[in-house]
């Protein structure tokens, strides 16, 4: 079974990124559900897509329930939130430190990963907040989230010995600053009416290249929080802004402040007869499932995953990279790799750089 991958090709000319293409070879896996009973589909989804199995399972159950109950439902799922927190911790404690040549906190990650997998309610317990205070942020998550002004954040970023501050200043010191970013459209917080009006029916073609009102859009922590004043102030430092958004989201999750748009938000509603849709916010962004039943069997099943939003060929990746100056091929490779990490694909990816030396 080939799970497919993203192939990212970058052409550099005259010291700039001149062109970038993204091609995905991911299979249309939801097809395996066609013709099954609704119960079989709901059983199979979390088994097959076990990487974010909780979110996938909740989405399948919610889409089916919306058909049967014919009612709108919105709730917070503690299991999906804890699953997302594990992903955020992994990126923040292991992946970003490795990328920036800092010390990864593998043992801490392993310990918290196992605690959260066994007991999702540990997400909002005092021990995890203490851990974040002592071993990641250098201050209590609540107080850290109050660093809403750029000056306060800069002071923390410059002076704190905390690992997260080291991540931020190391990323900063590596030329993240960019004065003329092309705007990246963010998927807004969606309500059921908007979603039903704009997308009456989801299709496999849409799932491959999703768009919001005609534009490829970014989803995930940064998109969910991009109206935050600190993130707005960091807009010309796109990688830092996305790293900080993830830190903010982790901090907010541990405080149980689920009124915000956070991973774990689940919304489901019926569409036409026999068709139900669920929207689940996951670590990487919006996950949508749409189930269509005909005589009790799956007539269509469409899954729109966050990676297809964030790695749309005309989406956030080219917007963040096109035109960026790169002094050398290794510098271009580093910039592309970090931008991919900031957008966080859930499939394998391959980066090819075609470097044409400046004359």
């Amino acid at each position: 079974m080939d799970p497919g991958k993203l192939e990212i090709r970058v052409r550099c000319a005259a010291g700039r990124i001149a062109a970038l293409t993204v091609a995905s070879s991911r299979p249309e896996a939801a097809r395996v559900l066609h013709g099954r009973s609704a119960a079989q589909a709901v059983t199979m989804v979390p088994q097959l897509f076990a990487l974010c199995g909780r979110a996938q399972g909740v989405a399948a159950m919610a889409a089916r329930a919306a058909i049967e109950e014919e009612a709108f439902a919105a709730r917070h799922d503690a299991g999906v939130a804890a699953e997302a927190a594990q992903e955020h911790l992994w990126r923040l404690l292991c992946a970003w430190p490795r990328e920036l040549d800092l010390a990864p906190q593998d043992a801490d990650f392993g310990r918290w990963r196992r605690i959260l997998a066994a007991d999702p309610s540990a997400l909002v317990g005092p021990d995890l907040r203490d851990f974040l205070a002592q071993r990641l942020l250098g201050m209590a998550p609540g107080a850290w989230l109050e660093l809403s002004r750029a000056e306060e954040f800069e002071a923390w970023c410059r002076n704190s010995p905390a690992p997260a501050a080291q991540l931020c200043r190391t990323l900063e010191g590596n030329g993240d600053s960019w004065n003329e970013p092309r705007p990246v459209v963010h998927l807004p917080a969606l309500d059921a009416t908007m979603v039903a009006d704009d997308w009456p029916v989801l299709s496999a073609a849409f799932a491959l290249r999703p768009q919001w009102r005609g534009r490829p859009s970014e989803t995930g922590a940064y998109a969910r929080r991009h109206e935050d004043p600190l993130l707005a102030a960091l807009a010309t430092r796109p990688l830092l802004a996305r790293l900080v958004a993830r830190l903010q989201e982790l901090a907010a999750l541990t405080r149980g402040d689920f009124a915000l748009p956070l991973p774990g938000a689940v919304m489901a509603f019926p569409l036409d007869k026999g068709r139900g849709r669920a929207l689940v916010e996951t670590a990487r962004g919006l996950l949508m499932h749409e189930l269509t039943l005909l005589d009790g069997r799956v007539a269509d099943y469409v899954i729109v995953a966050p990676t297809e939003w964030n790695f749309h060929p005309d989406g956030a990746l080219p917007a963040l990279l096109a035109g960026r100056a790169c002094a050398s091929e290794p510098q271009a490779a580093t910039l592309v790799r970090r931008t991919v990490l900031a957008l966080d694909p859930c499939v394998a990816h391959e980066i090819n750089i075609d470097w044409q030396a400046p004359p």
Partner: protein, 89 residues
């Protein structure tokens, strides 16, 4: 959505383990799940053992992947694959 595969631990090497599944042999990082013993089943995604599996769940996921391969290859007679997958836990 991100597809992983069930693999069986063959040999442990500190924070890594050599594992086999679906015709592949791979050295997996154990960061997510901690120590394992030869013979245990894990769910493998992009070089990481992401979850421990019991043998039945490993078989169910395997059956689901068989079904998916059959569908993607254009075969429609895949009911047998589902028997195992849908057996109640």
């Amino acid at each position: 959505m991100c597809l992983g595969i069930p693999m069986r631990v063959m040999e442990c090497e500190g924070v890594f383990a050599w594992c086999e599944g679906r015709g592949r042999r791979e050295r997996l990082n154990l960061l997510w799940i901690g120590e394992v013993q030869p013979g245990e089943w894990v769910y493998a995604v992009l070089g990481q053992a992401r979850e421990r599996l019991d043998e039945q769940r490993a078989r169910q996921i395997d059956a689901g992947l068989d079904a998916l391969e059959a569908v993607l290859a254009g075969r429609t007679e895949f009911d047998p694959y589902f028997d195992d997958l849908l057996r109640p836990d």
